[in-house]
Amino acid sequence: MTDPRDDAQITDAATGKATVPTAPDAVLTPFSLLLGAKVSDRDGHPIGIVADVMMAAAEGRIVYVALSVGGFVGIGERLFAVPWACFVIDPVGGALAVDFASAVLDGRDGFDKDSWPSAADARLAALPPGDGLV
């Protein structure tokens, strides 16, 4: 498993163009592997699926994953803007997990489905890496 925080995002200050990834031995993962992918929590319990991925394209970085939690084919689901830094991914097999417990999202409202946020959920971004609220 690879922690995306290990790959620093470097942007050329002069051109604004992204120069990522910097590591020549970086394992490349197809973006399509993420869309619709099942996501587990830190304990391996299913937590949701990836509804979409919002990225800062010019900077070459993922800002947040729109994580669909609960419901059935979108009916009754809640959407959360989970920071990409919360994710741990197996770049080869594509297994995707967040580094917090699913209970962190219990009782929380998701974001407005008709107007997605312009930034990741600050509450989730503030979670210490590898450590949820429970």
Partner: protein, 94 residues
């Protein structure tokens, strides 16, 4: 009606299969499920007129599945796209 359904059913089913298999985007895939639904209704008519209960019920089930496909690709996906576009607009104005 049976004669019309006899043409519509295979044509709609074939066209829908091409539309879905081509994977030309969420919207066209969603329309493909609508066409699948038209085909299912036509097959149901044929099943009812010719007394083939298995054909009738099989396509009744498929019609429900096609409705799910329409919701999945034209309803849910369209809502995702609309919501994501709002984020794009909001960040473009910065």
């Amino acid at each position: 009606m049976e004669q019309v359904a006899g043409w519509v059913a295979p044509l709609a089913t074939t066209l829908a299969a091409v539309m879905v298999a081509a994977n030309l985007g969420a919207r066209l895939t969603g329309y493909g499920f609508i066409v699948f639904g038209v085909g299912s209704v036509a097959w149901m008519i044929i099943g009812a007129v010719t007394g083939q209960a298995n054909l009738l019920w099989q396509n009744a089930v498929l019609l429900a599945i096609n409705a799910l496909g329409v919701w999945r690709w034209l309803g849910l996906r369209a809502r995702y796209d609309k919501g994501a576009a709002a984020a794009t607009r909001a960040t473009t104005r910065k």
